[in-house]
Amino acid sequence: MNIVLSVRQFLNDMRRQKLRTAMTMFGIFWGTCAIVLLFAFGKGLTEAQMKSQKGMGENILIVWPGITAKEFNGLPRGRRIRPTDDDVRFLKQNAQTLAHISPENGRHMTLKYGRQTHRRFVDGVWPEYCIMRNIIPQFGSRFINEPDLQNRRRVIFLGDILAGDLFGDSVSAAVGKRILVNSMPFTVIGIMKSKEQNNSYRGRDNRTAYIPNTTYQAMFSERHSDDFVAQHKPQFTGEIARQEIFRILGEKYRFDPTDEEALAVWDTTEGFAFLKTFFMAFSSFLVGIGFATLITGAIGVTNIMNVVLEERTKEIGIKMALGARKSTILWQFIFETLLITGVGGVLGFAFAYGVISVVPMLNLEEFIGIPTIDGWGAIMMSCLLGLVGLTAGIFPARRAANLQPVQALKLF
């Protein structure tokens, strides 16, 4: 059959049944839009969550002091286990599973520069802390180094937001400036490059200040640290690293290495794995909803085509009387359905794409990430739409093609 005539017939039908065709197309439009948007937002959100989870560092274990819950070698339970910096150093030298380690000591302090005064969290750490936590100094600045630590220097590294709070517009000139920390002068040595992080146990890194742990301990006469952060080597799991820490410290403090209460451990990789599973389920759920919408749209198209068939029966009869074969009638209907689903689908896709392009301008990245459609998603979407169109078209088309010409003409 002539394509031009088919298209004209289709357009004619559309004119005659504007509302109905529009509603049908809207069904497919909305289904497509929903799938694409849900898929894109799901993906964006997942990636944003993963990225900000990584902002806290990868393969990180955080270990706090604990109290034994098991008796061991004649020692009672309920003993407090509180590792010192020497223990952390011992772990650094002896633990096979760990790549980096640093004690952490912190409290809120008053930071003052010029007229700006802010009460913020100040963390005493070791130099390798920045490697573990993906803290990258801005150009022309640096993090705490080994000499700072050994000499208990009064130097301070600032989170980017905190630096902005203190220095305002002159952040770029902050390095080398003196600020007062609890009335003691400190030299700013570095400012953090902005990073995403949605997960922490004592405030975001971008609002925190870092000083050498030795300086911190000297300021407050501390011998112990609040906790220590360890990064295990990628070839080991968090659990194996935890067991090694328990074995080494268990020998020293004489507690049962299987006593999980002896030290409190947060294995962030566990959370990471959970997050991955959760967001996979979440994405599947969203796509499921979109898919259901699309199916509803397809059922709508099938219905419409059935009604169209009723209306067009006579026309089918005329065509059959003029020599149209079954296959011609079949293809005409399939063509029309594909056109409806195709146009609806393309519009839906375009609209979704528009929405996705606008979203990054709304500065919501921290909360919803950047929604993205990948090439495979688009191809899969097209195939899915084609399938929906074909399925929706095939039933009415078969019914139409199986009519006897006289039935279609309603001559009897």
């Binding site: 005539l5 005329i318 020599g323 006897q404 001559l411």
Partner: protein, 228 residues
């Protein structure tokens, strides 16, 4: 002359739920090549059913129907479609033109189904439009034409693939007498050019212009002679 249509003991039974209705009760009809025949009879006598069977628009319940020597009962749906496309041209009372297509496009349809390509097709449509006197109405849609014009487009369409047989069901039924007269004139011309013409009609004056009249009554042939 040889019989182009040979029907023996044709029966057609319609079944609707538990109700059966025998529209044709075993009729025998032969139509010779190049003959013009009128089928007349009161409403419900089976005229239209006969035309549907003759034109392969419907399948018979029992009997034997040979069209141009081919046993129609045994043909596939595609073969039947080809017969409707090339061997038989239909003219209906209600014109049955596609409402959204122009006169030109309506005439073009059987040629499209016959896969007649490009220039040949355009040539043929133009020729047919001229033949029915509508060369200037090629771009008109059915709603922009009179009844007579529409029926002439329908006749041009029926002639598209140069069929041997023209089947017309009350072709003047919806027309005024002047237009009806023109249509009948057109049929006469076609007959003179060698087409086999079968016209179903109530109109005695149209029947009177054919070579032979077949009278149907209650699904059976009531005489086979000349009623003039």
């Amino acid at each position: 002359m040889s019989a182009i249509m040979d029907m023996k003991q044709i029966r057609k039974v319609y079944q609707t739920g538990k109700v059966t209705f025998e529209a044709l009760r075993g009729i025998d009809i032969q139509v010779e090549r190049g003959e013009s025949v009128a089928v007349v009879g009161p409403s419900g006598s089976g005229k239209s059913t006969l035309m549907n069977l003759m034109g392969c628009l419907d399948v018979l319940t029992s009997g034997e129907y040979k069209l141009d020597g081919e046993l129609v009962n045994t043909l596939t749906s595609n073969q039947l479609a080809d017969i409707r496309n090339k061997k038989v041209g239909f003219v209906f009372q209600a014109f049955n033109l596609l409402p959204y297509a122009t006169a030109y496009e309506n005439i073009e349809i059987p040629l499209l189904f016959a896969r007649v390509t490009g220039r040949k097709r355009r040539q043929r449509v133009t020729e047919l439009l001229a033949r029915v006197g509508l060369a200037d109405k090629a771009a008109n849609k059915p709603t922009e034409m009179s009844g007579g014009e529409m029926q002439r487009v329908a006749i041009a369409r029926a002639l598209a693939n140069d069929p041997e047989i023209i089947l017309a069901d009350e072709p003047t039924g919806n027309l005024d007498s002047a237009s009806g007269g023109e249509i009948v004139k057109l049929f006469n011309e076609l007959w003179k050019q060698g087409k086999t013409i079968i016209i179903i009609t109530h109109d005695a004056s149209i029947a009177g212009q054919t070579q032979r009249i077949i009278r149907l009554k209650d699904g059976a042939v009531d005489g086979n002679g000349d009623l003039r």
